[in-house]
Amino acid sequence: MPVFSFLNPSFLWALPVAAIPVIIHLLSRRRLPEISFPTTRFLKALEPNEVRRLRLRELLLLLLRTLALLFLVLAFARPSLTPRGAVTHAAAAVGILVDDSASMTALDEQARPRMQGALARAVALSEAARAGDELYLARATRPEDPETGRARDRVRLARALERLEPSPVPARLAEAARALRLALGRSALRERELYWITDFQRSNMTPEARAELGEAVRAGIRVYLLPVVQGRTPNHGFEAVDPETRPGPEGRGLEVRARLANHGDSPSDRLAIRVRRGDALVGGGDATLRAGETKWVSMPLEWGAARDSGDVPVVAETDEDAYALDDRWFAVLGAPRRLRVLRIAESRAGAPPPRYAALALDPSGDGGSGFSVETSAPEALLSLSRARHDAVLLEDVASLSGAAEGRLRSFLHEGGGLVVALGPHADADYYSHHLFPGLVSLTLERAEHAPEGGAFELRARVPGHAALEGLAVGVNSPLTQARLTGIMLGRAAAPAEVVVQTTGGYPLLVTAPSVSVFLSSLADDWGDFPFSGAFVPLVRGMVAHAARAGSAAGGEPRVGERPSAPLAEAPSGALFTRGPAGYSSPAAVETEGALYRAIADAPAPAPGFYTFESGGRPIATAAVNPDPIESDLDNVSTDSLRVEASGTRGAAAVTVITTRGALEAHLRDTRRGREVWMEFLVGAALFLIAELALGSALVIRP
């Protein structure tokens, strides 16, 4: 039952005013004139019918007048209704989770930063606090240090909110919610509320975050979801820029590759991309992305003398949209790199192995394509060295000796890559139980041949995968017109990823970090695939994925992480790092096999270039960018979250408050009760109108 109270109870002293009609009625009855009349027989004859009815009406009129005055007085006393479970009469512990992640810099429907709306909601919650309330604030990007304070420190909390700015790092909603839940659990107050102020970005609403909602409900905390935006906001942006430049078409010039994503429901048509070095424009192009598409885009670079100058910091830019952080991407471009491939193939029946794959990688034999290929027998693996090769291609090899396999594993551990192409001679049992375990979660069963007259089509399953670079494909779209007549049946399990599959859903290209497995033949044993247009880019993609994954094992540092950069040699003196926004931090050196890596002590606070200095001389530069996880601004339906989190406690356990007005109304209702003076005023007016209508109806009678 709602609790009824008055915000201005002093007006209740005027309640006796409501008795005025009754008093007047009684006084007028007492003072009625007495008229001597010859006979009352006719009046009395009317009494049973008319007079009683009129008396009833008279009482009704009296009641209406009294109610009108009563409601008028009560309206002035500002009556309020407090909903069931509201915290009007008890102090409350209030947890405020503010999402200050990078996506909160995106603009909302009114072209204002989402953070502005979030802060306004947080301030409203802070200002609604009363004496005795406890307020807890947790930032989604820094959940480890919730700002706490009682309501008497509301000013301090308001100042903290004023200082709150979005951080270009992903939100850790689950951790922030957990910290608040624990803080509220420690409070001695029984009334506990938890407000989620966030954009409910789908990529941030991890299963852990969803589970935390349910945990709060089960802990008896009333949860309120305050989405700062409604609907999906379109956005496009960079997800990566390949630090390696590539030779241009036919070996002329250089190219830089950028990975772009379109997080929207409509295509991004001819998206302009510009690559700058300082203020100079050194490259660029344009790209068209379908709705929801992510792909690598190659753009020519024109910097002439800088071609072989090593690390060059550049900034890739595209047209600015609602989320500006990913419209600018920092990269340190290295010199073009030639991937050295050791191709292992077996001669059979005195015939040399087919050279389709080798020709696809290095058609001219001079490495101008960015690949150099050395073909050897399996025994060559015994002398395999990371210093001489970047990747190994096993092409229809039946099996490896234990020594060769051991050396191969060492090579992979040192950062090398492995490409396995099966074929009619490959021993499925060997690969399943010896070579693949520890490298890729893939089990082979047997060779499967297409029925007579039939064939397997190649269909892309992960169009944006690096192994498919250069192929304009969509999900489940055919890669080529070529057909395969035989494949090796296999089952992949995570973390292995099926990038290409055949009709019938059989895995054809399975990748894992540093490993690519093609479950058919790269020769013409099982079809005409080597003669198709997709053959060259797919073979190069498989090799590039395997070879480059190793070199990028350290990964590109993100905002919020410690900046790091590979070093050619160990520095002679102490390292120091300088970055944007006055960033400076000592740095350390770590070894990665034969390589060195400089790592700053302090996390990067913002995107930009971070320079490592030794003895006052810059020796390496790291490009730090925001995490692309924040780029997809699609949000989760708060209603679905509400239903999911409410569980068996009913939908009332979680409340969705979509607008600031609704939040203010909610705070007014729960803190002070819902004011119903207007309803009372209307009620008084209605009673008055009814009284007038009833009175007029009586007078009309003759």
Binding site: P33, R41, L46, L54
Partner: protein
């Protein structure tokens, strides 16, 4: 002249006069002045005296014997004879004390009765007066001499309203006592049950009396045009009714009209003349009704 006559017949004007005999005379004279010819001033068969003939006198009354004997022309004059025995029955119940138009019903009845008495006596009719109310009554038996007027007027002046009306008892009692047939003129507001009034009239009719009923009501009794809520006290029973007149005025008027119609029907059935009057009406209508009745009787 007509204005003066109208004033003489106006009850409110007449009531301002102090002496009832004066009132009666003025009313009758005012009334008779308006008549073109009085067909009721007649001659009786009993000789009273001779008068010298004057030119223009009708020869019908010339005393031929005296002319033959003395050669003088004398007219025979006859003493007018009483040809009607009227009893004026005035209701003096408490309800007759009501008056909203400057005159009470009893005053109206009193003045009307006085005027009628005067008129009757001037016509040599015998007039008696009976004042009745519940449990009491006063009476003066009918006589036809002008000297009889004074006690009649004295009694009329002395009448005071009190008590309730009980037609069954009072009128039945009167009917029993009036052995000689005559004209019964009833002045009352008839605030009793129509059945009881019917029984009383029936009693008079049974005794071969002619009955003329002047039903006197105050205009307010008919219209009930009070404005504000009040406690209405029954002047006879003392019953109190609190009501708002504007709420039930319509129904009240309908009921009163139905009641009057019922009384009219009762009188028609009993071959009595029913004359509804209100205290703001001039007396001439009542007097005319009487004379009309008298003409029918003689």
């Amino acid at each position: 002249m007509s204005q003066d006559r109208a004033r003489l017949l106006d009850p409110r004007f007449v009531s301002k006069l102090s002496r009832l005999d004066l009132k009666a005379r003025l009313v009758v004279e005012g009334f008779l002045t308006g008549l073109h010819r009085s067909p009721y001033h007649g001659f009786s068969v009993e000789f009273a005296e001779h008068r010298q003939y004057m030119p223009g006198d009708p020869l019908r009354h010339l005393d031929w014997k005296v002319l033959a004997k003395s050669d003088r022309k004398y007219l025979k004059q006859y003493e007018e004879e009483t040809n009607l025995r009227a009893s004026l029955l005035v209701d003096t119940s408490a309800s007759m004390a009501y008056g909203s138009a400057g005159i009470t019903k009893l005053d109206y009845a009193r003045q009307l009765a006085a005027a009628l008495a005067y008129l009757m006596l001037t016509q040599n009719d015998a007039v008696g007066l009976f004042a009745f109310a519940q449990g009491r009554g006063e009476q003066i038996p009918p006589r036809s001499t002008m000297g009889h007027l004074r006690p009649l007027l004295l009694l009329l002046e002395r009448l005071a309203p009190a008590g309730g009306t009980d037609f069954a008892a009072s009128l039945h009692s009167l009917a029993e006592r009036m052995t000689r047939r005559g004209l019964i003129v009833l002045f009352s507001d008839l605030l009793d049950e129509p059945e009881r009034i019917e029984a009383a009239i029936h009693h008079f009719r049974h005794r071969k009396h002619e009955v003329l009923v002047f039903h006197i009501l105050d205009p307010q009794e008919l219209l009930f045009s009070f404005e504000r809520e009040a406690v209405y006290i029954d002047s006879e029973s003392g019953d109190r009714v609190t009501t708002r007149p504007q709420e039930l005025r319509g129904d009240y008027r309908a009921r009163v009209a139905a009641w009057k119609e019922r009384l009219r029907q009762v009188c028609i059935e009993k071959q009595a003349d029913y004359v509804p009057l209100t205290t703001d009406q001039p007396y001439d209508r009542a007097l005319l009704e009487y004379l009309s009745k008298r003409a029918r009787l003689l």
